[in-house]
């Protein structure tokens, strides 16, 4: 299973390294979202700094949808999905591999967005480790749910419009938890508040990773 995970993740990341879709399209899209949020809030820097945690995570969620769409679409051409199913790779490994690839791209995007939030909104981070841990845990949850829902909507012609509608409400807990942890880690926050939310993220990750490992095989039969 682990070997298959590495194979699939390596394949997806190689495609990304050659096509640079996430880097040249999804990342700029995230930055555009940050700029638009600033326009929506007005030039008040204090207001922006207050809203920074939530806006960061909303931007991450939007980028997740894009990254998942890309992850599904690389399999949709030339019968690649059938090829993967016929390849004899473990479905659990397939799920974990796709998840790892999406997560790896999301981590880079989050780093970019975090820098953007600090520079553009003037957000001051007091407890960096809390930020790092929340991003790591949030990324796992987003990538796992995204991969699951991507597989569920893979064969649909209406995937582009349906996927965000199905995925975004499901990951609402990640948005809530991530935002609260960031608020706790920012200047003026109480870091102790964050640990409860970290637990929620761990539970969310555990549930969806376990679910994906178990049901990814059967899901592919629906496409």
């Amino acid at each position: 299973m682990w070997r298959d995970t590495l194979l699939v993740a390596g394949k997806d990341l190689r495609i990304e390294a050659r096509s640079r879709v996430a880097l040249s399209q999804v990342a700029p899209f995230g930055i555009v979202a940050l700029v638009l949020f600033a326009f929506a809030l007005g030039p008040d820097r204090a207001l922006m700094a207050t809203g920074a945690p939530g806006l960061f995570w909303v931007a991450v969620l939007f980028c997740t949808v894009q990254a998942v769409q890309r992850s599904v679409s690389v399999e949709s051409a030339d019968g690649a999905r059938d090829g993967l199913r016929l390849s004899g790779l473990d479905p659990a490994g397939l799920f974990l591999g796709k998840t790892v690839a999406v997560a790896a791209q999301l981590v880079v995007l989050e780093a970019l967005l975090a820098v953007g939030v600090v520079l553009l909104y003037g957000a001051r981070i007091d407890v960096p480790w809390l930020i790092v841990v929340s991003c790591a845990l949030g990324t796992v949850g987003l990538a796992a749910t995204g991969t699951l829902y991507g597989a569920l909507s893979a064969g649909l012609r209406v995937r582009e419009t349906l996927l965000p509608f199905l995925l975004l409400p499901i990951v609402a807990p990640v948005l809530l938890a991530g935002t609260r942890i960031w608020q706790a880690a920012m200047a003026g926050g109480t870091p102790a508040d964050g640990t409860q939310w970290l637990r929620l993220l761990v539970i969310f990750d555990a549930v969806y990773v376990a679910l994906g490992v178990v049901v990814y095989g059967p899901i592919q039969e629906t496409a």
Binding site: R157, P169, L200
Partner: protein, 275 residues
């Protein structure tokens, strides 16, 4: 499927089933009427809330159906569908019917809650944990219905929908706790306590209980009717395809519209390509 073949479903064919459904429907109407009468005329107004308290005979019952009965049934039926031993389109259609009726009840919950919230709390909507969970649940339900609307073979659609219901079902407790913490961590004393006096008047308690029974009956009746419609829809869908295929095949052997069709129909060989 042969279009002349009758729909195979005991719920549609057996006379006893039809009578049972009719009786449930009548019981639902009668108990609802009785609840309305008790709730509007017999029970006294509340000391604090006055006549506003009469919403208690609608809102909790509707919410019970929407949040527990409909969603629980949809999740259980979806799981039973996914379980290989109990896999049957019955569970799939039941889940779909439960979700669709659940959406109606969910919207009614939100509307009746808003009507209550405006005079009681001063706002139509508050970001209270329960309200937020209910709204998220509604969105998840709507997503399920959207996925079902995507045209597919009944089996494929059933699998997809069942998986979606499963993913949503495990999310509900997490959403619930997260909005609970979100709310409680952020705001202190809340004005959102509906302030139901714990000592509830005898007739009020009975009416409240009756409203739960009445709304559950309404739910069951709507569920069964929606299930039947689901069976008929699938039957019609496959029948339509068959009809279209027959029509298309008939084009190949169709008599010449100009005139002596009998010869063409009887004698002319059908070209290979149009069969």
């Amino acid at each position: 499927m042969n279009p002349n073949q009758r729909v195979r479903s005991p719920l549609l064919q057996s006379a006893r089933a039809r009578w049972t459904v009719r009786i449930i429907g009548i019981a639902a109407v009668l108990s609802t009427a009785f609840t309305v009468w008790l709730g509007l005329w017999v029970t006294p107004p509340d000391q604090v809330q006055g006549d506003l308290v009469r919403l208690v005979y609608i809102h909790p019952g509707v919410a019970w159906v929407a949040l527990y009965l409909a969603f629980g049934l949809a999740a259980a039926a979806s799981l039973l569908y996914l379980w290989p031993r109990t896999r049957s389109l019955f569970w799939d259609r039941l889940a779909a019917a439960a979700v669709e009726v659940g959406v109606v009840f969910n919207v009614c919950t939100l509307i009746s809650g808003s009507i209550w919230g405006k005079p009681a709390w001063g706002v139509w909507w508050a970001w209270d944990a329960r309200l937020t969970s209910t709204a998220v649940l509604l969105v998840l339900f709507l997503g399920y219905m959207a996925l079902r609307r995507v045209p597919a073979e009944p089996e494929v659609r059933a699998r997809r929908s069942a998986f979606l219901a499963l993913f949503a079902a495990v999310d509900i407790p997490i959403v619930h706790f997260s909005v609970l913490w979100w709310k409680t961590l952020h705001q202190g004393a809340t004005v959102l306590n509906p302030d139901l006096s714990p000592t509830i008047h005898g007739s009020m308690a009975w009416t409240l209980l009756l409203s739960f029974v009445a709304l559950t009956l309404v739910f069951v009746w709507m569920l069964v009717v929606r299930y039947r419609i689901g069976v008929l829809e699938d039957w019609l869908g496959s029948g339509e395809l068959d009809a279209a295929l027959r029509e298309r095949q008939a084009e190949g052997v169709a008599p010449d519209p100009a005139g002596d069709g009998s010869e063409a129909a009887a004698g002319a060989p059908v070209p290979e390509g149009v069969r």
